[in-house]
Symmetry: C2
Subunit: 377 residues, 2 copies
């Protein structure tokens, strides 16, 4: 390998571009660059024979600039579609005002519930003059970690996040907070950290759903839920249990199933229905599972809802696509997203103290459709 110092000397002697540059960065002979670039304040200043400060002030309607000068500069900017470089601006002001970019981490864009939340986040952020940088963890811890690094590098003003399923450490979140960025969790909360959060009222959602099943005549109601170490599962189970107790029905552990997807539901349900004392209804923690139950029950010759009632949780696109349409608990993802943005930006803009921890609960709504019987007997 050739010595750098020798190169440097030659470079000086012959006035070449330093060669070690090429060793560090691949030659950026990007022929696509440099043809066109965005207009800057300096360009305008040069063109109109004033200083960049004057341009800056004129465009901000500062009263320090004379009216005609102001008008002249604004007209030029308008006619040439000038837009100030926000990155430069937020760099300059980084000590007094943060950037107008919000980091958003989502486990999976294509998951319906998450897409409604993302939509709510985007809508509210946009309304308050912010843009979002959205990334998917794809349920992988290392992706989540890497995304957090990016967000830190990009100096977003704060981060809104739902954890990947396998996340158990949270140094990466701590890092963001150390850099002064507020953090808001939604849906899948980080239990190891006492932070801002927006969740759905899982308890009442489940309670009302089960109360409705009881009201329409069901007595043996199965619960299909995820592993009980998840907050969501716990809360929904408690709502289910309390609704039963309120109606004087004591919960039966054999009706408490660990099952949260359609494939498993189609395996488990036949056994359950063939048992000595089968259920007459099911409450599932998501629509996917509910649909699995629905079609299994139908396939086994039972009528829904006449012989068997079902209630899901989510109210996604599928709920009205199945036959009969699914009675389910609406999760209002849009609202969850909006509340998360409000919590975050209220802190960013100093309307709420940084150290105050906000925990909001979004009300759910029971959507009654065809998999449960009508209320009037």
């Amino acid at each position: 390998m050739q010595s750098f110092a020798l190169l440097k000397t030659q470079i000086r002697k012959y006035k070449l571009t330093p060669t070690y540059y090429f060793c560090l960065h691949l030659p950026t002979n990007n022929s696509n660059m440099s043809e066109k670039r965005a207009l800057t304040m300096k360009d305008i200043a040069r063109e109109l024979g004033v200083s960049a400060s004057t341009v800056s002030r004129a465009l901000k309607d500062s009263p320090l600039i004379s009216p005609d000068q102001r008008e002249r500069i604004q007209r030029y900017a308008r006619e040439h579609n000038f837009l100030p470089n926000e990155l430069a601006g937020s760099l300059r002001l980084s000590h007094s005002a943060p950037s107008k970019l919000i980091g958003v981490i989502v486990p999976q864009f294509t998951h319906y519930y998450f897409s409604t939340i993302l939509s709510g986040i985007e809508e509210q952020a946009s309304l308050r003059g912010y843009r979002i940088i959205a990334a998917q963890s794809k349920e992988r811890f290392e992706h989540e970690e890497h995304i957090c690094q990016s967000m830190l590098g990009l100096r977003v003003c704060g981060v809104i996040v739902s954890q990947a399923k396998d996340t158990t450490h949270y140094e990466h979140y701590q890092q963001l907070m150390n850099a002064g960025m507020p953090l808001v969790f939604y849906d899948r909360i980080c239990t190891g950290l006492n932070t801002n959060r927006v969740v759905v009222d899982d308890y009442m959602g489940a309670y009302n759903a089960v109360a409705h099943l009881i009201q329409t005549g069901c007595r043996r109601i199965a619960f299909y839920g995820s592993d009980m170490h998840l907050e969501i599962s716990k809360n929904r189970y408690n709502g289910y249990r309390d609704a039963l107790l309120k109606a004087g029905i004591s919960p039966d552990d054999s009706l408490h199933l660990i099952c949260d997807n359609r494939a498993d539901a189609e395996i488990i349900t036949p056994e359950l229905l063939a048992s000595a004392n089968p259920p007459d209804a099911a409450f599932a923690v998501n629509d996917d599972t509910a649909i699995g139950i629905l079609y299994t029950v139908k396939r086994m010759g039972l009528r829904v809802p006449e012989d068997f009632s079902i209630c899901g949780f989510t109210n996604g696109e599928r709920a009205i696509a199945c036959d009969p349409p699914l009675t389910t608990v609406e999760q209002r993802g849009n609202q969850v997203g909006k509340e998360a943005v409000d919590i975050l930006l209220d802190k960013v803009e100093g309307l709420t103290p940084m150290n105050k921890i906000e925990k909001r609960v979004v009300k759910t709504r029971l959507i009654i459709r065809g998999t449960t019987r009508p209320i009037n007997p």
Copy 2:
């Protein structure tokens, strides 16, 4: 109104913060700021008693820095979770290398097909070391325009976009191109502009679907499509028509329906089935419409697929939620998103000349399920 000059004088005399500042910018007494901030190279330099240049070079593994110094600096950075401010870096290098942010404009996040595309875009961008700024036009032209302004202000390296339904002007796209940003359209192409685009093979998708219907014994196949001025509708209709012609069936105009949603399908279909010469199958431009047809047909006492076959287009979540599951054309949104990113970044990184216009077509795939009959008779 009080004079500014007077204020300025007093300000100078008493060494106050200039009052006109308060008139321009609302008081930024953001008590949340300034407590914590992200670490910078300067901080590290000060701490270790070297210059910022040395830190910069050490972190970039420059051979100009002595090995032990390099190790010392890198260790400090690692231990303190230092991440360089990307915005500052890309500002400095804005003339030789663009930022690593891609602007993405989507009509609606919650629309399943768009969410798969967005997912594909994010995945591929992430793989190539970029992040996305995602925004929804919500089908409103003025939103789209405003988002383009933002993207320009944020100096993204390029924009990937699908038009809002009511967009007919395209100065806002032109502006982006004038600033040197490559543009890639997907799904809803801007017909007024000759630009990079990724679309799905609508023609072959429809052709294969209809050919399948014919192969399984259908003879009178209805076409449910959108208004014919949309590219998508035209291409799918042509595929439908050619498949019929190929089989020696002449298209019947009375079977060509303008209908692209479930509600309309539920209104139109009964009339159609009650007509003198009713169809024995339907091909719809999306799953929503197909599901509307499906349930209407079932409600009228016909069996699907024995008496009537149906094929949709999209293969969204709903396609496997309905009963029977829907035969449909898979649009492979993920692939569309990835191709769009590749076109864009190949230009940004100088692998492809800027002025070369790329037009890619993503192959569709027919997913045969329960709303069409088996192929063996």
